[in-house]
Amino acid sequence: MSEPDGVLARVVVRRPPSPRPGVPKLLKHVILVAAALLAFYPIWFMLTTAFKGQHDYLANPYSFPWPLTFSNFSEAVQGGQFLTWFKNSVVLTVGAVIVSTGFAALAAFAIARMRFIGRNVFLSVNVALMVVPPVVMLIPLYILFTNFNLIATYRGVILIYAGLTLPFSVYLLTNFFRSIPHELIESALTDGASHLRILLQIILPLSLPALVTLVVVNALWVWNELLIALVFLPQDNLRTLMVGVTVFQSRYNLNVPVTMAGMLLASLPMVVLYLFGQRFFIRGLTAGAIKG
């Protein structure tokens, strides 16, 4: 049935040159430049406003900031408990990433390298849980944590973040562990290495790229999270940076440049990480969709 079509198509396309140009090169660039400008302009707005005096901003919100004003940054840092919030975010991010990666490495090792009943079910459950929105668990966890006095504690929130990022971690590490050639493990086995040593001394060192990717993606997620931090760490001195800046913003509502300086400082760690390790972000955030 497709044969005549195919022949016709061939005849048509083999006609003397002048293939249709499709989208002209110039148009492509125009579209891409426009898209890049739209993506970048709000960031540019944040960046330039942070270096402006309040008067300059009110006079003209889109002008270039000249001369540069740096006082907004010191005012932003002093205005809230910026450094405390920053420290809280670091503690939670590091804690959650360690727990999530550690638990996931153990589980992924078993899924990828051992046979047991329920293996596929466990992996499928992890894949499905990747999309369950945190708001669903919010109320029961809140009641549970109130009963166990875990509200306003680092360890409680670290457990929640580690748990919420765990399905993705298990999924990513399982896929990577499966790709490690068996010969590398076999030689260690003949040397009589225990399972745990195989994981720690062979598999994990070989998985460094996957581990970096995982750490980057999970750190980004925890650092940027708002809802859990808002509900489970209500005291000012325990707030994360994201909750802090949200509260800070409503307090400094009228001084836009100071707010923008605060936002810029809060974004800096992740943006710097992104600029240095872009491929890890891209690989990690698209894992699970490609060939998944």
């Binding site: 249709r20 492509k28 891409l32 929105p133 708002l226 994201m242």
Partner: protein, 293 residues
């Protein structure tokens, strides 16, 4: 595969399984239980479907459900922009890596920060309206976030602005991972850009498109709390209240965990249906591959 005693693998998955039970399984079971008990007392008597009926009778809930549904309109927009830009980048125009870096940058920024910055951007006397007035389009200088008619659409624009970076990078990664041979062959046969797109590239992207549509739909339904909270807190009035914000307000502000849980059950149900559709499509695609191989 490693040979092990039968219990060894279970010891390895135990920490992960335990934490998942604690963070996912237990709360979901409890939530279903709360949703059938007294609206303001999670340990109270069972009341059947009363919480669900109370939610449906609440105009705020109906507004929230409507707004969440309306936000799904962003899905085709996200899909169209991501595919078009990814395909343009895939043609290896000069500087495509640079464009990719810039286009992905919004996705690296935290949602609360995006929400706060956008809040100033769209203010009545914010930068957007200043620019519009300066170029003589003052008639378009609306109160983007302050008007009940526009606020939800402004929120949607902000969400699309940040989330589209993920779609672009996702589709581009898929394109870069596919074999170039069919495209080259088509190019040599004289197939124009449009033909190559329709007959080779889009069919190749089918699996990724299905994945993206489902994930984007789940995002719009159930992962937009931080945008709404920082941009509008659901206002003006209830004009940007979405289901997540409704759950948060009922459960934690109004202390009605029963009603909040009932709505959370519905939201989880919608998410489950969406992800099941994706699993089903994938399973079917795998079957087809086997059949035709």
């Amino acid at each position: 595969m490693l040979r092990t005693r039968f219990w060894v693998p279970y010891a390895y998955i135990a920490p992960a399984a335990g934490l998942i039970a604690f963070i996912f399984a237990y709360p979901v079971a409890k939530m279903i239980d709360y949703s059938t008990r007294y609206p303001d007392d999670p340990n109270g008597a069972r009341v059947g479907t009363r919480n669900y009926r109370l939610a449906f009778e609440d105009p705020t809930f109906r507004d929230a459900a409507k707004h969440s549904a309306l936000l799904l309109l962003a899905v085709p927009i996200l899909l169209a922009i991501s595919v078009i830009v990814a395909v343009l980048l895939y043609d290896r125009v000069r500087g495509w890596r640079f464009y990719r870096s810039i286009l992905f940058l919004p996705y690296i920024l935290a949602v609360p920060i995006v929400g706060i910055v956008a809040g100033y951007f769209f203010q009545l006397n914010g930068v957007l309206n200043s620019i519009l007035r300066a170029v003589g389009l003052g008639g378009l200088a609306f109160d983007w976030l302050g008007s009940e008619r526009l606020a939800l659409w402004t929120v949607m624009i902000v969400i699309v602005w940040r989330e589209v970076g993920f779609g672009i990078v996702l589709f581009l990664a898929r394109l870069l991972s596919m074999s170039e041979e069919p495209i080259e062959a088509a190019r040599i046969d004289g197939a124009g850009w449009w033909r190559r797109l329709r007959h080779i590239i889009l069919p190749e992207l089918r699996g990724t498109i299905e994945f993206y549509v489902v994930v984007a739909a789940i995002t719009m339904l159930a992962w937009v709390f931080a945008y709404v909270y920082t941009l509008t807190s659901g206002g003006p009035g209830t004009s940007t209240t979405v289901l997540e914000l409704y759950i948060y307000n009922q459960g934690l502000v109004n202390s009605l965990p029963g009603i909040a849980s009932a709505v959370a059950v519905l939201l989880l149900g919608a998410t489950t249906i969406l992800i099941s559709i994706l699993f089903w499509i994938r399973a079917r695609a795998r079957d087809e591959e086997v059949t035709f191989a």
